[in-house]
């Protein structure tokens, strides 16, 4: 369940020390395998059960977060606007706020389990429909960026660590640290000024925002969307690759002095084979965990960049819901975002043993 720590290493399950003769071929061939599969199923089941508990906890949290902390949710939603007492009463009734707390809670849980997160205050449509409409745009943008920055981060991280201390290592690390400190939305705004609006001799080359210009069909539509994707993807990659690079770099540096690498070199393997086949698979383990944390954020994390580029995705929707504030929509999105992160973490936990044979068997 943990996002930042790898699952605990399982102690070697070996028999009495130095018993080559007693470990008969049959027991060695079938015994551990069967035992492993069973242990793995148990491990995976425990992880899934943990995820279910977490999801339920998210539901409960969001209930209390949006009903108990605001002194009066309806007043907050209507903000400074002039609303009559009668209208307020109607709204309260509409959101079920006039019912006793326990009843609100049970009906909320029941509704949520059937995918009903209520009706959006600003759009007057079911929250779940708004979310379903916006999801594909988010997946397109952040999915593209995710693949690019993960690949770039792993590639550069490996390169810099392998040439630790070299000029290119120092430059790459410094560059990554700098981009890591830059707010994503600001970088997006700058890119818009430079490449969309145009500055000095640079003409405006890219659209300032949105997903499409409208009116295009077929192949032209694909090109148009790709054109709109360029700047937001660059923004996301720029701030996203740095973390992957730094994690990959430091975990590879941890492996660099390892004895098994000396063994691999002593076998006569070429330097790049030693790196690719021996060092990287070990160094990938922490990076793998990070990649799955980021995968969760493919759905959740990019509120700012979507807002800046007016991208019609979940992040943009979240922003518009915040500024009202449209509490049912905020609540629904909160649940979706948290769910995505929890699912991605669970997936990481379940897949991890396939990468590291020491875990979970």
């Amino acid at each position: 369940m943990t996002a930042d720590s790898t699952p605990a290493l399982v102690q070697p399950a070996d028999g009495p020390d130095g018993d080559p003769a007693s470990a008969g071929p049959s027991s060695a061939a079938r015994g551990p395998r069967a035992r492993n599969t069973k242990a793995y199923v148990q491990y995976a089941a425990a992880k899934i059960a943990g995820a279910v508990v977490s999801l339920f906890a998210v539901l409960v949290t969001s209930f209390f977060l949006f009903r108990l902390i605001p002194s009066d949710p309806v007043k907050q939603m209507t903000g400074g606007k002039r609303v009559s007492a009668e209208q307020l009463e109607n709204l309260r009734h509409q959101f079920g706020l006039d019912q006793p707390m326990w009843k609100q809670f049970t009906s909320y849980i029941g509704d949520a389990l059937t995918g009903d997160f209520g009706t959006s205050y600003q759009f007057h449509t079911p929250v779940i429909d708004k979310i379903a409409d916006a999801l594909p745009a988010t997946l397109l943008l952040t999915g593209t960026a995710y693949v690019l920055y993960s690949a770039l981060g792993i590639w550069l991280g490996t390169r810099t660590a392998w040439r630790n201390g070299s000029r290119s290592d120092r430059f790459n690390t410094a560059f990554a640290l700098t981009l890591y400190s830059v707010p994503s939305f600001w970088l997006g705004l700058l890119l818009i000024i430079v490449f969309s609006v145009g500055i000095g001799p640079i003409p405006g080359m890219f659209p300032t925002g949105g997903l499409e210009s409208g009116g295009e069909t077929g192949f032209a539509y694909v090109i148009d969307v790709a054109h709109h994707l360029v700047l937001p993807v660059i923004t996301l990659v720029a701030v996203g690759y740095a973390q992957t690079l730094l994690v990959m770099r430091s975990s590879l540096l941890d492996e660099m002095g390892s004895d098994y690498l000396t063994t691999a070199r002593a076998k006569g393997l070429r330097d790049d084979v030693v790196r690719r086949k021996h060092a990287v698979p070990n160094a990938m383990l922490p990076t793998f965990t990070l990649m799955f944390v980021n995968l969760g954020h493919v759905v959740a994390g990019q509120i700012l960049v979507e807002t800046v580029f007016s991208w019609p995705g979940l992040g943009g929707l979240f922003y518009s819901a915040l500024s009202v504030p449209d509490l049912p929509l905020v609540q629904g999105l909160f649940f979706v975002f948290a769910t995505a992160v929890i699912l991605a973490n669970t997936l990481a936990d379940i897949l991890y043993p396939l990468l590291d044979p020491r875990v979970g068997r």
Partner: protein, 331 residues
């Protein structure tokens, strides 16, 4: 022709530490050479230097003739071809020397595929043979290192070292991390394999008793130099260099109650290789040091038949009498 001949080998690390300072060694086919010394005396550096495995920036000079060909003068492509196929290494602590995320069978097959240009099936068959040869069931090829016990892992390391039928095996503390029973098993295995296949063996250890038991000849290293060498048993039982004496006295002799009740160590620590003492590097710890030791370096000299030692007390005429008995002096 001797299998391996090392001449005037010097290794200086990037930080200025002189780890090996002028070592001469030779190993013939079927011969077993033991190298003994405290940790930090340069014995592991020596092992890595033989296959040019030291980190970039390390200065290595001298000659390492493997079958008459100088390893230090080879192109990198040739070095890679010689690694494992010409000489292989059994490292200490097999848990860390094996890659945790690959099956041991694949790790043994790796050099076979590389050097012997074998097919996957051929390599797999060879792996099974090798594992059974070192006393493991062939099915162990499917295991991961963490699923094996310490002794089993060391057997895998030995099977791996034999994979390309090298002429020379370098065993760097092959039994240090194991408990005594397993240690004996592994030593017997190594001895048996060396005898069967007429291999050359260099065994490195801090344990003089283990070495004298397994090896034909013994070289004792101190501060990057060989300070004493000779037939294994003679060096162990009757060392002439004060350091050799101290080292063998540190292990109680079975059947000698006196040694059991008074195991002797040596005061002080081995010198820092980047700031070595003047003259004979052993003189600050030497119980029988003379004034001349602090000023003059002592070279290896004859100390009896097939024996050499680097000590001022060792003369070509009466080696055994002039060497003052280190055990008689109080530390």
């Amino acid at each position: 022709m001797t299998l391996l001949e090392v001449k005037d080998l010097e290794v200086t690390y990037a930080g200025g530490a002189q780890a090996v300072r002028g070592v001469n060694l030779s190993v013939a086919a079927g011969q077993k050479l033991g190298i003994a010394g405290e940790s930090g005396c340069g014995k592991s550096t020596l092992a890595l230097a033989l296959l040019r495995l030291l980190p970039a920036g390390t200065k290595v000079s001298g000659e390492i003739l493997l079958n008459g060909e100088d390893v230090l003068a080879m192109k990198w492509g040739r070095v890679r071809a010689v690694r494992w196929a010409g000489a292989s290494i059994v490292f200490q602590g097999a848990m860390h020397s094996l890659n945790a995320v690959h099956r041991v069978g694949d790790q043994i097959a790796e050099p076979i595929l590389l050097h012997k240009k074998a097919t996957q099936a051929g390599a797999k068959k060879k792996v099974a043979e090798l594992l059974e040869h070192v006393g493991l069931p062939a099915a162990r090829a499917e295991s991961y290192p963490h699923e094996l016990s310490g002794g089993q892992r060391q057997r895998v390391m030995i099977a791996m070292a034999l994979a390309c039928e090298p002429e020379l095996i370098i065993a760097d503390e092959p039994t240090t991390a194991l408990d005594v029973m397993i240690q004996a098993q592994i030593l017997r295995l190594i001895e048996q394999l060396v005898a069967e296949q007429d291999l050359g063996l260099i065994m490195i250890s801090h344990d003089l008793a283990v070495l004298s038991d397994t090896c034909d000849r013994l070289a004792v290293m101190y501060a990057g130099r060989v300070v004493e060498e000779g037939p294994a048993l003679e060096v162990y039982e009757n060392a002439v260099h004060p350091y050799g004496k101290a080292l063998s006295a540190a292990f109680p002799t079975i059947g000698d109650p006196a040694s059991r009740f008074a195991p002797r160590g040596l005061p002080g620590d081995p010198p820092d290789p980047s700031a070595l003492p003047s003259g004979c590097t052993f003189h600050p710890r030497c119980p029988v040091a003379l004034d001349v030791c602090a000023a003059e370096d002592q070279a290896l000299r004859e100390a009896g038949p097939e024996r050499r030692a680097a000590c001022v007390h060792v003369g070509p005429t009466d080696a055994s009498t002039s060497a003052v008995d280190a055990r008689s002096t109080t530390a």
